[in-house]
């Protein structure tokens, strides 16, 4: 495996995709340059400019399933979200995203609370939450690993990659490993078809992953974390 990553923080991750014309060998961009980490900068707790507040959720290392909806900087973000939509209902998806960032999953209780905040019924919020795949209806592991097995990745061995993740984490599809670290799922096309197999781990994409890369990638996650 050729290591092209520069910089100290992610040296063991097989980062081989500079984007747009993937498997062409050497490139001299760092992972941070490809991902745009420096450009994005640090994420202000209050969400920064209101235009970006609805796009803000991340998967936090520490989830607090009983955190209040919403206090402190989260309250500020919540209010910024509301300011961007003509009615309360429009804010539902971003507010659910925010709740999931904080609590890690959307329980029935969370649905009820979000409904109460926005003046929507429990049943309505439940209907919406269960329609979308990104809302975890139950807690997931520290790392949510989503492997694309759709056609473009499938043609290039995605089934083997998925199998390798299951084997190396010792878990079953959709379940969480006994150490609470890994939940492995299949995901539909991640829009990285030129760089098979595409895997999303929490907020980040890892592309051009082969079955042989999986043990090293998991090792890296265990040792160094990552969002």
């Amino acid at each position: 495996m050729s290591e092209t990553k520069k910089g100290p923080e992610r040296a063991s991750v097989p980062f081989r995709n500079p984007g747009w014309a993937g498997n062409t060998g050497e490139f001299d961009l760092s992972e941070a340059e490809v991902r745009g980490d420096e450009y994005v900068g640090s994420r202000p707790a209050d969400g920064g400019h209101p235009s970006r507040a609805p796009s803000y959720p991340f998967m936090l290392e520490d989830k607090t399933p009983d955190a209040p909806l919403f206090e402190g900087p989260y309250r500020e973000r919540y209010e910024k979200i509301l300011s961007r939509y003509p009615d309360m209902r429009g804010a539902l998806l971003p507010v659910l995203n925010l709740a999931q960032e904080l609590r890690g999953h959307i329980s029935q209780e969370t649905m009820r609370e979000v409904g109460a905040l926005l003046g929507l019924s429990d049943a309505y919020v439940r209907g919406v939450t269960t329609f979308y795949t990104m809302y975890n209806k139950r807690p997931v592991g520290r790392f949510l690993i989503q492997v694309c097995t759709n056609v473009s990745c499938n043609l290039c061995g995605a089934d083997d990659v998925l199998e390798a993740f299951l084997e190396n984490t010792g878990t079953e599809l959709g379940e969480t490993s006994s150490d609470g670290l890994f939940t492995v799922m299949e995901v539909e096309c991640l829009a990285a078809c030129g760089f098979p197999t595409a895997v999303q781990i929490n907020s980040r994409y890892y592309e051009s992953i082969g079955a042989g890369d999986v043990p090293g990638l998991l090792e890296h996650l265990r040792d160094e974390g990552g969002d």
Binding site: P18, G19, W20, A21, G22, T24, F27, L29, E33, V34, R35, G36, Y39, V40, H49, P50, S51, R52, P54, S55, Y56, M59, R84, P86, D87, M88, R89, G90, L93, P94, L96, N97, G127, V128, F131, Y132, T133, M134, Y135, Q146, T149, N150, V151, S152, N154, L155, C156, G157, D159, E188, C189, L190, A191, A192, C193, G194, F195, P196, S203, Y205
Partner: protein
């Protein structure tokens, strides 16, 4: 091979900033002529903007290929309330991966396109509906929007013109159907993404019940260039009916996969064998899906002489869609890949219309049976019959999309199906 890889036949207009981290920033985008289009648009007035886009012949890059300028002109001329511009960044058609690259390398290109379009249709608010899975890409676009606000390019009184346009980056939550224009509107409004019956069309009643226009990321990215250089300039590439350049997303069994920006009307065989370097040693072409999972298969004979423009691909019995070229060589198990495609549609069906909700599941079950070697020859007739009943009978085209690869693969690769049915042997491994 030098990197970044570009092929000499590529025409990099929209993809010029790919692989250049510096062009992400406002300053970097300006060094490539960024925001000249917006400045010019505000000077010449919105009618002229629409005329210029009409003159360019730009057609929607989201799959349908509807002329963009014409779409904009459907918006009410006299304003009675808010208008909205929606940027469809919910890229999720299997095989398509161009919008993510456009957004992460050139976020200001997207924003400039949005602002010009919003100005043309008198919208005061732009929602960039970004796919939920694109956390990283989202952050890049959101940072760029913030920069645009800081520089007075978005928000109140843009560049002193008196025009005010707000931009909000909205994050979806994982649903393929939300890429359908009216489902996206429902989703933006905080509902389940169920496509709406048309009419009324979005230009009359769109998002939040107000006149709205929705354009794909790539369409909007072409707009600043067209305004800065003129519609005639854009027509130097492509064909009479499909002008301009297009990002072709090539995936599957070729040596070089990726996004390649080429003139419309580019020969498919040149794309496969020249730009993408052909197949691995000893492998040959079996099938191509030229426009993402939703369109019919082309076999090797169809590929001969096929040109990649909206008309050229239709002539060969498929559609250009969003130019997502999925390539399969002779080791491909077509039945398995069709079943995988149909599984996807069954998963993503919103469940609103019976032919789709039931049909996708039935297709999936029957195909799985055949794949396992337990199918019968009558199953093939059932699949075709079912597929036909799923075509043109639902609110949106997801149902038609699920049927298309099934019907076309049975027609073109019947022997692959028969090998499984008669002998339980798959042709091809994966």
């Amino acid at each position: 091979m030098a990197y970044p890889y570009t092929h000499e036949r590529e025409v990099r207009v929209l993809s010029r900033g790919f692989g250049e981290p510096a062009t992400r920033t406002l300053e970097g985008w300006k060094t490539l002529g960024g925001y000249e289009g917006l400045t010019k648009a505000l000077e010449v007035g919105r009618e002229s903007v629409i005329e210029e886009v009409k003159a360019s012949g730009l057609r929607g890059r989201g799959g349908a290929g509807f002329p963009t300028g014409v779409k904009w002109s459907f918006m009410p001329q006299e304003k009675r309330g808010p208008h909205y511009l929606l940027c469809n960044a919910d890229e999720s058609e299997p095989g398509t991966f161009k919008d993510r690259e456009l957004m992460r390398w050139t976020p200001h290109q997207v924003i400039e396109g949005c602002l010009i379009a919003a100005y043309a249709i008198q919208a005061e608010h732009v929602y960039i509906y970004c796919r939920g899975e694109f956390f990283e890409t989202n952050q890049v676009v959101a940072r760029a929007v913030e920069e645009a606000y800081e520089a007075g390019l978005a928000g109140e009184d843009i560049l002193g013109s008196g025009v005010s346009i707000d931009v909000t980056v909205h994050q979806g939550a994982g649903a393929y159907i939300c890429g359908e224009e009216t489902a996206l509107m429902e989703s933006l409004e905080g509902r389940r993404g169920l496509p709406r019956v048309k009419p009324p069309f979005p230009a009359a009643i769109g998002a939040f019940g107000k006149p709205s226009t929705i354009n794909n990321v790539e369409t909007l990215c072409a707009v600043p260039h067209i305004i800065a250089h003129g519609g005639e300039w854009y027509r130097q590439w492509g064909t009479e009916k499909s002008p301009g350049t297009k990002l072709f997303c090539v995936s599957g069994h070729v040596r070089r996969r990726g996004n390649f920006e080429l003139p419309m009307g580019f020969p498919l065989e040149d794309l496969l064998y020249d730009v993408c370097g052909g197949f691995e040693e000893g492998r040959t072409l079996k099938a191509v899906i030229p426009g993402g999972s939703s369109v019919p298969f082309l076999d090797a004979d169809d590929c001969a002489g096929c040109t990649l423009d909206y008309e050229g691909v239709i002539e060969k019995g498929s559609m250009l869609g969003c130019a997502s070229v999925m390539v399969m060589d002779d080791r491909t198990n077509i039945v398995k890949q069709v079943r995988r495609t149909v599984d996807f549609f069954a998963h993503e069906s919103c469940g609103q219309c019976t032919p789709c909700r039931e049909g996708t599941t039935w297709l999936s079950r029957i195909l799985l049976r055949i794949e396992k070697g337990k199918g019968t020859e009558e199953d093939l007739d059932t699949l075709v019959d079912l597929g036909k009943q799923m075509t043109g009978t639902t609110i949106c085209v997801l149902s038609d999309s699920a049927a298309a690869p099934v019907i076309s693969s049975i027609e073109k690769f019947r022997d692959d199906y028969l090998a499984l049915i008669r002998r339980g042997e798959a042709v091809g491994a994966g």
